[in-house]
């Protein structure tokens, strides 16, 4: 997924959908578009918390 970095291509920040024959490498090298991050934030690890309120007592 590409994002527009120059007004010469369109609205800055909008997604860029390359047309037929468009040279993506040249646009990237020229700084006209960038690669948007597709990695999602890692989920936090599930931790089990002991919600048991019972207390053990020894006689």
């Amino acid at each position: 997924m590409y994002v527009i970095l120059s007004e010469r291509l369109g609205t800055v920040g909008a997604k860029f959908h390359p047309g037929d024959g468009v040279n993506i490498e040249a646009l990237l090298a020229g700084g006209f578009i960038g690669v948007s991050s597709t990695t999602k934030a890692a989920k936090s690890a599930k931790t089990e918390t002991d919600t048991d309120t019972d207390t053990e007592t020894k006689d």
Binding site: S6, E7, R8, L9, G10, F16, P18, G19, D20, G21, V22, N23, E25, A26, L27, A29, G30, G31, F32
Partner: protein, 139 residues
């Protein structure tokens, strides 16, 4: 008799980049090889259309600023791209019409990038895109 007079103000897209404000001249040439099809018995030459060999010659002011002429063209040298020239800017980007057609070369090749410097003049870059598939976008 001319029915309309238009100030030449074409719209130029190079690799999807709008370079109209740096462009000073555009010459879109649609050419086909002329193959002889004349045979015995004919009294006049006949021709049929051969391979297309189209080109687009453009003149730009030579700005080296970010996102300007040099940044657009330098990375295209020795590669192929798509170029579109229309008589005027489309009302909606990418939407052309019969009266404002998008003359398109897809997969056209840029072989060189001459940069012209002259005393007392704005520097310029004149490029020629050659080959590629010609189409006329009127959608």
């Amino acid at each position: 008799m001319a029915t309309s007079t238009l100030l030449s103000n074409p719209h130029v897209l190079i690799n999807a980049v709008n370079m109209s404000d740096q462009c000073t001249a555009a010459n879109f040439s649609i050419d086909y090889a002329q193959l002889t099809a004349t045979a015995f018995g004919d009294v006049d030459n006949k021709y049929v259309k051969g391979l297309g060999d189209h080109s687009l010659t453009l003149s730009f002011y030579g700005s080296f600023a970010a996102s300007e002429t040099w940044a657009t063209l330098n990375t295209l040298v020795g590669t192929t791209t798509t170029v579109i020239v229309s008589p005027e800017a489309p009302a909606t980007p990418g939407t052309y019409s019969a009266t404002n057609p998008g003359m398109t070369l897809t997969g056209t090749f840029l072989a060189s990038l001459p940069v012209n410097f002259a005393l007392g003049e704005l520097n310029s870059m004149d490029v020629v895109f050659t080959g590629g598939v010609y189409s006329l976008d009127v959608s």
